[in-house]
Structures are given as structure tokens and as C-alpha cells.
């Protein structure tokens, strides 16, 4: 993917009119031409983080659809509120058919999910993840949300494991190291990485800096740091300087590929 695009070079030069030196670290072209191109090298058996919180906001919906269309299998998905929108409308505007991570279980492509919220309160109708789990086709690993995000953060921050008070005295604690600090018992939890992260931001600059909007951050910034390859779906790609330096939500260093949505895409 490390092509030196003339377009990218120009925008770098334009942003620095008095400095014509081209620095090789900058003009790596991270921009993919299509969603299918951006996910084309994801192999069967990959572990894939999917950003957002749950619901339409912050969800890399176009990347998810491209991944599904790629047709690969044996995937491990790492999400948060994972597959409840389709049957409950969670986090989606009323006038649209919700799309969620359950699609990879409906298609039989995913065999495992690690997340905090795999199923809705209701079983009528059954969600795709619960259906796959009941039929023995999916392993569901349910992690407290704060532990899940901290495991992801830790992976990106070079922390192999950490202690947390959450989950002590519950089924989550089974088989884990316990240790007391200041008279309170904690659990040892390990960092969680993945082969790929599919994330969503409002804007990227050509270098790969990201800007988020509203509540669309959620799991996106941490997942961007934690996966070996981070692929970002954005509404808009802007030139260097097009994102206020004070508003950079994810550093370009973490970002490997950027894909821009079509203007006026009906999906949120």
C-alpha cells in the first residue's frame, strides 16, 4: 500500500509553500480508492476489531459491508454493543433498516465474537448472534465494557496486562489472577489486539490524522491504536491542515488506510 501518489505529494507541498523538501515519511499514500480495495487483503481466520459503540453513529458500516462481500470466513470479531440493532433498532434512525455486526454471523463468516453486549433483552425475534450461538456455530466471549476498552487501550499502549476491580466475585473472574491493592481485590486482565481494525471517523487528512464528531468516538480511537492494520472509513478527506491541530482525535501514525464515503451516502 506504500505508493507515492503525486496528488498526496502536491498537497503536502501546497501546505508548506516555503519548504519544497519532500520528506519520505509523509507522502505515503494511505488513501484507498474503494471500500472493497481497502479490505481486499483481509484473509480468512483474521481477527477484526469493529469500532463505534453500537448503533449507526461511529460504525464503519461501508467497510463492514465490503468485508461481508469479500466472502472470507472463520473470522473473530471484536466489538462492543455488537448485534442488537437489526432486531431492536438500537441507535438507528427510525426510517432505516439497521445494520450491525450480526451480519457476519448471519452469513456464517464469523465463528467468534468478543464484546460486551452481544444480545438484546428480547429474544423475539432472535438476534443473528444468539441464533448462531444457540446452533453451536459461534463462540461468544462476553467482557465487561470497561475491561474490554482498557484491554484494547493496553494493547495499543504497550501494556501487556493490568489489574481492575471490575468483575471480581462474578463469572468473569474465573481462572484469573486475583491480587489485593489497598485492601480491595482486583483481577488481572490481558491486552487485546487484532489483525485489523475497521473504524469510522468524520474526517481524515491525507496524512491520516482523524477527527471525530459527537458520540461517534466510543471504541474507535483505542481500536485504531491496537490492531496491526487500521482501516478508516470517513465522510471526508481533507488536505494537510484541514483538521485543526487541536481537534486531532487519532494520530496519523496509527492509521494505515483511509476510504472516503460517497457524498450523500444514505447510510448514516
Amino acid at each position: 500500500m506504500q505508493l507515492y501518489s503525486a496528488k498526496t505529494l502536491r498537497s503536502v507541498c501546497d501546505a508548506r509553500p516555503k519548504d519544497r523538501t519532500i520528506r519520505l515519511v509523509v507522502p505515503i499514500n494511505k488513501i484507498s480508492n474503494s471500500f472493497s480495495e481497502a479490505v481486499a487483503d483481509i484473509p480468512s481466520g483474521a481477527s477484526i476489531m469493529i469500532g463505534g459503540f453500537g448503533g449507526a453513529g461511529g460504525q464503519p458500516t461501508r467497510l463492514m459491508l465490503a468485508l461481508r462481500d469479500l466472502g472470507i470466513g472463520d473470522l473473530t470479531i471484536i466489538g462492543n454493543v455488537a448485534g442488537i440493532s437489526k432486531t431492536t433498532g438500537y441507535g438507528w434512525p427510525d426510517d432505516l433498516d439497521p445494520i450491525d455486526q450480526g451480519m457476519f454471523f448471519e452469513s456464517g463468516q464469523a465463528t467468534k465474537i468478543t464484546c460486551s453486549f452481544p444480545v438484546p433483552g428480547t429474544t423475539n425475534p432472535l438476534s443473528e448472534i444468539e441464533k448462531a450461538w444457540r446452533e453451536g456455530n459461534a463462540e461468544v466471549d462476553i467482557v465487561p465494557q470497561g475491561t474490554l476498552i482498557e484491554r484494547i487501550r493496553a494493547a495499543g499502549a504497550g501494556i501487556p496486562a493490568f489489574y481492575t476491580p471490575t468483575g471480581v466475585g462474578t463469572s468473569v473472574a474465573e481462572g484469573k489472577e486475583h491480587r489485593d491493592f489497598d485492601g480491595r481485590t482486583h483481577l488481572l486482565e490481558h491486552a487485546l489486539t487484532a489483525d485489523f481494525a475497521l473504524i469510522r471517523a468524520q474526517k481524515a487528512d491525507t496524512r491520516g490524522n482523524l477527527q471525530y464528531i459527537g458520540t461517534s468516538r466510543a471504541f474507535n480511537p483505542a481500536m485504531a491504536t491496537a490492531a496491526r492494520t487500521t482501516i478508516v472509513e470517513v465522510d471526508e478527506i481533507v488536505g494537510i491542515g484541514g483538521i485543526d491541530s487541536e481537534r486531532v482525535g487519532t494520530l496519523s501514525t496509527y492509521v494505515d488506510r483511509i476510504v472516503q464515503r460517497e457524498t450523500g451516502d444514505y447510510l448514516p
Binding site: 459503540f53 453500537g54 448503533g55 449507526a56 453513529g57 461511529g58 462492543n80 454493543v81 442488537i84 440493532s85 431492536t88 433498532g89 438500537y90 441507535g91 438507528w92 434512525p93 427510525d94 460486551s116 453486549f117 452481544p118 444480545v119 438484546p120 429474544t123 444468539e130 450461538w133 461468544v140 462476553i142 467482557v143 465487561p144 465494557q145 470497561g146 475491561t147 476498552i149 482498557e150 487501550r153 481492575t164 476491580p165 471490575t166 468483575g167 471480581v168 466475585g169 462474578t170 463469572s171 468473569v172 468524520q202 471525530y212 464528531i213 459527537g214 458520540t215 461517534s216 468516538r217 466510543a218 471504541f219 474507535n220 480511537p221 483505542a222 482525535g249 448514516p268
Partner: protein
């Protein structure tokens, strides 16, 4: 399953409806505190804040300082609360990611969380994420909130399916957190938990109900407060 309490005869008086439970729970929320409301009855507390009380609502997905949960916004997917609803954009609101959101929770910065429950035990154990018969459930932020908020209030219906006890001696459902619940507000009672001594103290009853009426619908042994007030 927990045992059915021995109930003889009809109910002594109507139970409070869900809104009235929320209203009673809202009365205890202190002005200026940082509060996380769970889905269902807890979220309805926002509609019944006493005059002059302003709270900083936290939602796990990354908002602090939003307004009434039940006053819908414009349906902007990028302005969602943790229940999947769309609140209004208001001045002073802050957005942040899940790392920050759970630092706020785990770090003990949430003053009060109001949650629902499947079971609460006499020692304050909470079970609210999975029904064993179903075998799969969702933890979400519940374990972090229950284990780490400064105060945990449960707002729920007193019994399941009319007569099954939810307030029990020992939880039979998988726990969300042990020894975490401070207070339970139901459609017939307000119960305070003295966790140090493993006591449940009945402080208030719904209009027309007595200590004995509530005890008959509660598996856990209750103590009577010096003075039992009427819920209002």
C-alpha cells in the same frame, strides 16, 4: 429459581407504576452529582427531578452533561446515549471516547448509578445481566458501574411475573457485582441495605401496604426501620 413467597389473599393496595418508581428514585438524586442511569425505569428518573436539582448525566458511550433522557433530539446517530436514544445537543455537553468514559466509572467518579435488577441479595449482591435459563446475556457497562460507582441504587418492580421474589437471601443468578447495592426502590417499598451487617431495612412502603405485606413478597428477611414512611 428463587422460591415463591407465601402470599395469601389479594394485594392490599395497587402497586406504584413504573413512572412512580422512577419519581421516587429521582427524589434522592442530589443536585450537582454525576449520575449514570440504566435503561428502563432508571432512565425515567430524568423526567422527575425535583425543582432546582440539576445533574450531570453520564452515558457510557461518551457524553457528560446531557439533558432529559426522554426528551428526544433530532435523531442524529452521532448524538446518541448509551440506551441507543438520541438526546438533544445542549451547551456544556462534553464528548469523549470509551477509554475516558470507563476511567470515569472505574475511577470512582460517578456519584450515583441507578440500575435495574433481576435479583438483589440481602448482602447487596446484584444480578442483572443474564437469566440462567437463556444462557446468554449482555454485561455492557453494568459490572463497571455496579462495582465502582459511589452509590448503587436499584429501581425495579418488586416481583417478577407478579409473584416471583427478586429480593432474595442469596442470588441464584450470575452476579454483576457482589456487595454493591445501597438502596432498592420498587413498586411497593424502599429498602436500604446495611451491607456491613448484612441487613435489609424497610424504610418506606407504598400507600396501603404494611411491613408484613412487603415481607410476604420478599424472600430476604427484612428489618423494620424505626419509622416506616409512606412512599410519595
Amino acid at each position: 429459581m428463587s422460591s415463591k413467597p407465601e402470599i395469601t389473599g389479594n394485594e392490599p393496595a395497587p402497586r406504584l407504576n413504573r413512572a412512580a418508581i422512577a419519581k421516587r428514585a429521582a427524589r434522592d438524586l442530589v443536585d450537582g452529582s454525576t449520575v449514570n442511569l440504566g435503561i428502563g425505569i432508571p432512565a425515567m428518573c430524568a423526567d422527575f427531578l425535583p425543582d432546582g436539582v440539576e445533574l450531570l448525566y453520564h452515558a457510557e458511550n461518551g457524553i457528560l452533561g446531557f439533558k432529559e433522557l426522554s426528551a428526544p433530539g433530532e435523531g442524529d446517530p452521532n448524538l446518541m446515549d448509551a440506551g441507543g436514544k438520541f438526546p438533544k445537543l445542549v451547551p456544556g455537553m462534553a464528548f469523549f471516547d470509551s477509554v475516558e468514559s470507563f476511567s470515569l466509572i472505574r475511577g470512582g467518579h460517578i456519584d450515583v448509578t441507578v440500575l435495574g435488577a433481576l435479583q438483589v441479595s440481602r448482602s447487596g449482591d446484584l444480578a442483572n445481566w443474564v437469566v440462567p435459563k437463556r444462557g446468554i446475556g449482555s454485561i455492557g457497562g453494568a459490572m463497571d458501574l455496579a462495582a465502582n460507582a459511589k452509590k448503587v441504587v436499584i429501581a425495579m418492580e418488586h416481583n417478577a411475573h407478579g409473584d416471583i421474589a427478586k429480593i432474595v437471601e442469596e442470588c441464584t443468578f450470575p452476579l454483576t457485582a457482589p456487595g454493591c447495592v445501597d438502596e432498592i426502590i420498587t413498586d411497593i417499598a424502599v429498602i436500604e441495605i446495611d451491607r456491613e451487617n448484612g441487613l435489609m431495612v424497610l424504610r418506606e412502603v407504598a400507600p396501603g401496604w404494611t411491613f408484613d405485606d412487603v415481607q410476604a413478597r420478599t424472600e430476604a428477611r427484612l428489618e423494620a426501620a424505626d419509622k416506616i414512611d409512606q412512599m410519595a
